[in-house]
Symmetry: C2
Subunit: 162 residues, 2 copies
């Protein structure tokens, strides 16, 4: 599915969501949805705000972005991450499944894919819960930080032996 097709589809889904839930179909809301589906990867509210101002497609306030993104999350068109201290968002429709590997020490986040892992999660049965998506955050030490720690330990042991 190409980008424009995805945009058309999510617009349809959002329109239906708004109708069913008695919300108005404002131009701001569709401009926000369109902009989000132009972004690859993660973004935060401020980035989205600046991007929309920059593109001059449609000027919206931060408050409206916060309001609208809640609707999009409920409509299952956007998912929310919370790495670090600002909320990160990403489109969720027609997006490849991926997991996040986070260094507990330096905070670097990298994406990875793993078919076995994916099917294990997707085959998990839930009762009284209708699965829509999931986020797996794997924490550990990246190679760089692990080396740094080993150096520290070595230095300390060396001192102790003196």
């Amino acid at each position: 599915m190409d980008k424009q097709q995805v945009k058309d589809t999510v617009k349809k889904i959002f329109t239906e969501y708004l109708k069913v839930n008695g919300h108005r179909k404002t131009p701001e809301r569709f401009a926000i949805l369109d902009t989000i589906y132009s972004i690859d990867g993660h973004f935060d509210i401020d980035t989205l705000y600046l991007l929309m101002v920059e593109q001059e497609k449609f000027r919206v306030s931060r408050a409206t972005l916060y309001n609208t993104i809640i609707l999009l999350i409920n409509a299952q068109l956007v998912i929310k991450h919370q790495f670090g201290n600002t909320s990160q968002y990403e489109k969720s429709y027609n997006r490849d499944t991926h997991h996040h590997r986070i260094c507990a020490q330096c905070g670097t986040v990298t994406e990875f894919q793993d078919a076995a892992l994916q099917s294990a999660i997707e085959n998990t049965k839930f009762t009284g819960f209708h699965l829509s998506h999931y986020t797996l955050y794997v924490y550990g030490l990246c190679a760089k930080c692990e080396r740094a720690n080993k150096r520290k330990l070595k230095k300390y042991n060396h001192k102790k032996e003196k």
Copy 2:
């Protein structure tokens, strides 16, 4: 392992961590570690602060809690979650593996366990990354919200037919 044994062990691990990294062994730090390992489940900084004030064991400032918890995370004795807008923490040493099921609509978080899922994650091979722990957040609709949405949809379709 009983609670006191766990506390003793983590105290030893933390002491070693402080030594290796050239940090001081202050009474505040050990009081914080001890309090955290008395808490079952999640907590946020404010809850921890109030708990320590209440217990009158050791009065520490919020700033010290923030400072210390970063050390504990680096020492891999505490893990950080970010549901909602406040950071949540939990002890990580000798804690049962569990996953989190989150309702995308009402935000309710429940823990669950699944052996197949756990082994799939733990058997995933990483190169250049030393796994320490992971968090799996499964999002979806809880039974309650799903029912609510179906009612809304029905109401809407009913209206449309008129």
